[in-house]
């Protein structure tokens, strides 16, 4: 039969010596990205040229998290026993993204083809690469489809793939949350997010708000009723929720991280200054009040004093004090990013913020309710809150100044407070004096620690111990891996290439991120976690400065903010479902590591 086929070819191989086209004349490949984020590709072929179907391939060759979902291909025809395209074939490639991929992604698209001339010449295989910038917000996530990086374009293969039971990929917490919103039932969404908010209230993101709201309420001073305390707390929480919602919707729609943008030194300095000013007003140096004329203009009832200030504080503290990213927040952002539905996503965010704020309202009301009557105790309580305010101011400075500086400031603050409490006086109540003395000793230790070069608040005198350890049990010390710090995609790629075949943990970190510090001090310093993490390559992406390069790095992995932990398998492929967003305790983290 083969002979017969060959005999047939005889008729097509012409008598006269033909002039063969050069390859670039015979084949003209084209590919472009359309508005629907589909790749339109074709290989224009000259007269008498044909292309082999099985030699034609369309692939995405870089690992950008974007892959081919489906290829619409024309039907090939039988040509002497081979399936070929006798006229220019055009393809439409649908793309999809992996879980957790967002923003603009560069993809390298490769079009490979090989064909022959009817006049008796088979050309070399050729390939052409194209780079496209894909807006992944227009792509669907690859939740239900099996990953297929390349698809043979044969239509029969495609059909069989479609018939296969779709393999449900494990979802990350973030995506399950995004799915919750997609479910559409508004009541369920709001209640779920309110619940998430309540859980988040127990994280370090919300802790700094507790002294702020109590301080603000206490500073209202005399005439504060429980009702007013409640109203003030509600105003504070509402303002905080509005801030979270606006920041979240902006982040979801435009990928701009408003919170990170506000972590610039001058914002931090000025906000710290506000707290210092508040503190001094509590110490009774002066009274912080808006001018009466202004207050009466804003509201007719004189009772409104304080509300505006509290609202502003609530708004700003959400953005500046506690910029935390947690799974529910990221989930809502992903939903907004994917669907562009800012209303539903925003409502979810608002419900979550209210949830976060409920404990704050409780704190605020009790601060108002149990505030002692004016007198000696009252002075003491306001002083304590004044000190707390100063503490918040120093705590904020931690993000931008050296740890030794803030430690010295804490030491000074503690010392001053201890003396105020009467640590050095004879006529002090025994209880008060003991507390004051303990604080005094600790503060002195802090200052001594600073002078000795220690930066640990919990072990300021650790340098004494570490010397002893070195001299006695040095050999028992186990060396643990440290995070390798990077800030750009290039650095990451180099490291990934160097550590091929090993699993990698990529930790997005920023100095201003409270939960990141918590993660380091509680989880990463846990002995068991440490030894488990030794089997991974540890890379830390420092996004403190929020520069363009750092933003690009975050965008590449769809990271909304730190802390986010991304895991790579041995082939440097992101295990999307394994991503951890926000703080995680050592126990579940160990389990998580085991599941990798």
């Amino acid at each position: 039969m083969k002979k017969l086929v060959l005999l047939l070819i005889t008729t097509t191989i012409l008598l006269a010596a033909p002039k063969f086209l050069m390859p670039d004349e015979a084949f003209k490949p084209h590919a472009s990205l359309n508005e629907k984020m589909q790749i339109e590709a074709s290989v224009e072929i000259a007269k008498d040229i044909y292309l082999y179907e099985n030699k034609l391939s369309l692939e995405i060759i870089n690992s950008s998290g974007v892959s081919i979902k489906n290829i619409k291909a024309p039907k090939a025809v039988d040509h002497h026993g081979d399936m070929v395209f006798l006229s220019t074939p055009s393809f439409v490639v649908d793309l999809k993204k992996e879980d957790g991929v967002s923003g603009m992604q560069e993809i390298n698209f490769k079009l490979s083809y090989q064909g022959c001339s009817e006049q008796g010449l088979c050309y070399e295989p050729y390939e052409k690469e194209y780079t496209f910038s894909v807006d992944t917000s227009l792509l669907s996530a690859s939740i239900e489809e099996k990953e297929l990086k390349t698809l043979p374009i044969s239509s029969s293969t495609q059909e069989s793939l479609e018939q296969k039971k779709p393999e449900v990929e494990e979802k990350s917490e973030m995506d399950s949350i995004a799915d919750t919103i997609s479910s559409g039932n508004i009541a369920i969404i709001l209640v779920t997010f309110l619940g998430f908010g309540l859980l988040l209230a127990m994280t370090p993101c919300v802790f700094p708000m507790i002294p702020i709201i109590s301080g603000l309420i206490i500073s209202q001073g005399e005439g504060l009723t429980t009702r007013k305390a409640f109203m003030l707390s509600v105003v504070y929480v509402l303002a905080m929720s509005v801030a979270y919602t606006i920041a979240g919707v902006l982040a979801g729609l435009f990928g701009a991280n408003l919170q990170a943008a506000l972590q610039t030194p001058w914002v931090i300095y000025s906000f710290s200054f506000v707290f210092v000013a508040l503190a001094f007003s509590m110490f009774g140096f002066y009274e912080l009040k808006l001018p009466d004329s202004f207050v009466s203009k804003v509201s007719k009832s004189g009772n409104s004093s304080g509300y505006i200030g509290v609202a502003i504080m609530g708004f700003l503290s959400a953005l500046i004090v506690g910029p935390c990213v947690a799974a529910p927040l990221a989930g809502a952002l992903v939903y907004i990013g994917q669907t562009g539905d800012a209303v539903l996503g925003g409502m979810a965010l608002f419900a979550m913020s209210i949830g976060m704020g409920i404990p704050l309202i409780v704190v605020g009301v009790s601060a108002g309710k149990f505030m002692p009557k004016p007198g000696g105790w009252m002075t003491m309580v306001t002083a304590i809150f004044g000190v707390m305010m100063l503490g918040v101011a120093i705590w904020m400075l931690e993000r931008i100044v050296d740890a030794s500086v803030t430690m010295a400031l804490y030491g000074m603050l503690g010392l001053g407070f201890a003396i105020y409490l009467g640590a050095l006086e004879k006529e002090t109540h025994i209880f008060k004096k003991s507390v004051a003395l303990i604080l005094f000793i600790y503060s002195v230790a802090l200052l001594v620690g600073v002078l000795a070069g220690s930066t640990s608040m919990s072990k300021p005198l650790g340098f004494l111990k570490s010397n002893a350890v070195v001299t006695t049990v040095a050999s028992a010390q186990v060396e643990h891996k440290e995070f390798i710090k990077i800030t750009s995609i290039e650095e990451l790629n180099t490291l990934l290439a160097k550590n091929k075949g090993k699993k990698v943990i990529l930790d997005f970190y920023a100095d201003w991120c409270t939960a990141c510090k918590e993660l380091e001090e509680v989880t990463f310093s846990n002995a068991e976690v440490k030894s488990k993490m030794d089997s991974f390559i540890l890379i830390q992406a420092d996004v403190t400065a929020n520069t363009e390069i750092e933003k690009a790095l975050s965008d590449k992995f769809g990271v909304f903010g730190p802390p986010t932990l991304i895991f790579f398998d041995e082939n440097s492929k992101v295990m999307g479902a394994k991503t951890i967003i926000g703080f995680i305790e050592p126990e579940p983290f160990l389990k998580h590591l085991d599941s990798l």
């Binding site: 063969f20 008796g120 010449l121 088979c122």
Partner: protein, 129 residues
């Protein structure tokens, strides 16, 4: 029935006809230096219908065989498996190079040809030598 006869004819042709004795490129150059013959280098590869056509139809043609075996040293290089000397350029397969004893390509034939055209080319190369 017609088909059967055709296949039968083709098979007998194949069995009765002589074969091309393909020679290794380096050996062929040595032989060329001794006999003052020209190399006929065929560049081919798998999955190339025109190459198959040349091997199965043209190179089994008695007249072609006669000329090739008399005046040329046939060399067959699979461009993916064998080594292709730099001088032997190609844009596709099959490509034929006529190579002299100094390993220089003196003439080229691009693409598959039927026996008649192919022989015309062979004769032209002989005439120009």
């Amino acid at each position: 029935m017609k088909k059967l006869i055709l296949i039968f004819t083709l098979l007998t042709t194949l069995l009765c006809a002589g074969e091309i004795k393909w020679v290794d490129f380096d050996d062929a150059i040595e032989m060329a230096q001794k006999n003052n013959k020209t190399l006929l280098v065929m560049l081919s590869r798998e999955g190339c219908p025109a190459c198959e056509y040349m091997e199965d139809i043209v190179f089994t043609n008695d007249e072609v065989l006669k000329i090739v075996n008399k005046d040329f040293i046939p060399v067959h290089i699979d461009i993916y498996k064998g080594f292709v000397p730099d001088d032997l350029t190609y844009i596709g397969t099959p490509t034929f190079h006529f190579v002299d004893k100094n390993e220089k390509s003196i003439d080229t034939l691009v693409g598959g040809k039927n026996a008649k055209t192919f022989m015309e080319k062979l004769n032209a190369v002989i005439a120009n030598r």
